[in-house]
Symmetry: none
Subunit: 224 residues, 4 copies
Amino acid sequence: MPGKNTAAVETLSKSALRRQKEREKRYQTILAAAEKLFASEGYHMASMEQIADAAEVSVGAVYFYFKNKEDLLVQLMDEIGYLLRSIIGTAFKKHGPNITGFKKAGHAFFEDFCANYPEKCAIIFRESVGKSPEVEQHRKALFDKCTGDVLAALTVVAENQGLCFKGNFSPEIIAVIIMGIYERVAYEYILWQEKPEDLTHIGRDAVAFITGGIDNLFEGASCT
Amino acid sequence: MPGKNTAAVETLSKSALRRQKEREKRYQTILAAAEKLFASEGYHMASMEQIADAAEVSVGAVYFYFKNKEDLLVQLMDEIGYLLRSIIGTAFKKHGPNITGFKKAGHAFFEDFCANYPEKCAIIFRESVGKSPEVEQHRKALFDKCTGDVLAALTVVAENQGLCFKGNFSPEIIAVIIMGIYERVAYEYILWQEKPEDLTHIGRDAVAFITGGIDNLFEGASCT
Amino acid sequence: MPGKNTAAVETLSKSALRRQKEREKRYQTILAAAEKLFASEGYHMASMEQIADAAEVSVGAVYFYFKNKEDLLVQLMDEIGYLLRSIIGTAFKKHGPNITGFKKAGHAFFEDFCANYPEKCAIIFRESVGKSPEVEQHRKALFDKCTGDVLAALTVVAENQGLCFKGNFSPEIIAVIIMGIYERVAYEYILWQEKPEDLTHIGRDAVAFITGGIDNLFEGASCT
Amino acid sequence: MPGKNTAAVETLSKSALRRQKEREKRYQTILAAAEKLFASEGYHMASMEQIADAAEVSVGAVYFYFKNKEDLLVQLMDEIGYLLRSIIGTAFKKHGPNITGFKKAGHAFFEDFCANYPEKCAIIFRESVGKSPEVEQHRKALFDKCTGDVLAALTVVAENQGLCFKGNFSPEIIAVIIMGIYERVAYEYILWQEKPEDLTHIGRDAVAFITGGIDNLFEGASCT
DNA sequence: TATGAATGAGAGTTCATTCAT
DNA sequence: TATGAATGAACTCTCATTCAT
């Protein structure tokens, strides 16, 4: 009887689905609690018990969802990295692969990412620094991806506008430099001076500096 | 009797001086041990006992010279900050307050500071990040000074060459940006990729980017 | 109507029987998984989750069939004890209540029990030692039974051959001694040296020593 | 001035010596506390905090003297092993390398070791069994030494009395058997029945059984 | 000044057991 | 019956800091 089977299957998948949802929800709750505490108290000062309390679960539950404290940080970095790249990537694609798109991506970093998620900034720019070899490696991987994104954008924009880099200027280094600018400006004005309200203006200046610097590096006309 | 007195004073001051020297030597030995261990093992993983062992003193001795572990890091940051600013400042002053001096200062950062003192890089760019409110505050102070130096240099150079910043471009932000570039390039190629041999070339590219970017910001002729 | 009833009863008992069988099977599967893991990882290192996984059931199922972890070990000891006594008892009875039967029983211990069930050896001779008062008590009970068996055999053999123990030699102690010999030889060559292939020879030497020792204790002719 | 120097040296060595003594004393105090608790509560049930409390030191002090809990057990086993072998070895040597010495050694095991140190019995015969690979290995090493001692004694006695083992009887196995007898009799009457008062009598029976068994194995006259 | 043994709070982690589904 | 997520007490172990000598 297919009806029965289907019903059974549906019942099963419904309950399984709900359970799956519950799991995902709990996972996110714990992760959110960890993010908040890592950002406010610092990675080392935030104890697993505090995190469990904040997430309103038991310590054991935290360990059910995450291998250990380090894993909590690493998963957090992954999620934040994904969000960051989405925000910037979306802004870039929206305006086409040209210098305007590049600028908009920069503005999105400051205005959409940093301003809205200061705690996520704290995690990737402060709390994940120098914590352990494992975390450091993960951080490098995240930055590598971002640098790669910037590099790819740079390349596409150049191609699109028929431009080349002057001399033997390495575009990779430019990508690293751009990341450095973003990172430090965010750190300075979000984590230190805590002036998110000035960030739009500041971010625009930073982006202007970057695009100005980049313009400088492009050959006038045809690539050789 | 001046002779006697002098002799006494001299004897006294000699022994006092020697004692002073011994103290200073011990202090530096401990600090050097801490630097090495913080850089190689990480601030948290390096225990006070390890540091004492490496410095060939007792744990108690470390606490005689330093208030606590945090103090060890803070003193280290101060010394490194002083050295860093000396190196850059010296290079800048040597070539006069012009754009060449500015470039030379940048080269000095990479070639004299980062390449020669990778462990000091590790301390100020990695191990002092997100450790505690106190340390963070100290780190901010250090960066503020450096940013201030850059800002001052920028101002002097502009004045000297009779230039002004375009529009309402904030020179403070430029200074922050420059620090960000230096910081990330050092982190990327000294702490992550461990390629000090490429640093001269990379550093020159970075400096070229910076000066190119700056040129862009100056008004053509007279300031209004 | 007996037919109907019988049919009903039969159907019922059939399904009940099958259920019973299923239960018994599960019980044995879990017990077997526990045996394997206790023997290989050690009682404390083997977690209930591991056992459940190995038995391909849920943790809850393990707790349905067994009160707790200790119970798992206790049931295991009971089953192993039963098997051990069966093997030895069967060998003894097979050859009649004489010294040959006694020897054969000893050979059976080494060649049929230890050689074939090294994991069961590990449980009763190693993993059940010093675990908890409850387990220890169970272990004592098991050893008491075995010692009792040996004592009974000893008595029967003596009676059968019209012999008595010399002086005031306590046959109980002889039984304890024999158990000790069996236990340590098994431990040494199965659990430590892992040489089951030498066990036949070694076992025969051990049994020879025992029977030699026993012979010594019997009075020449009539008991007084 | 030798006087001064000597004084200085003496003062130094005195204080160093006293410190050394203190250390040794503390070490022994902690070990004694661990022995008592392992024997009464069981290795796993005895927590490091309990041990520290019983020794009237802090938990940290226990970890200053011992690497970890396992180390505590291992050191305990070493000390007990040394004592056990001393007691038995002394008894054997005292009566010369003959069968009487052999018997006396056996009596010493029961009457001097087991009866006086039931807790040490508990450690080596119960609490060190199946605890961890490391501990098990240590236990094997201890038993190997004891078995080696028995074997050596057996060999010396045989040589001394111009006797040989019958057939291809392996003396190593005899040594293992003897250890098994000692172990189980001790376990049975000290750890289970807790009848140390019967131990003299029981031990003598056990030793008589052993020597009877051994006699059986010796060739009549000359070795071939 | 210098030592290094001692402290003890606190951390991360495990896991036997329970219970709503 | 069966599941497996959740619990939380208890554990071992670390290490910055202190202080009698």
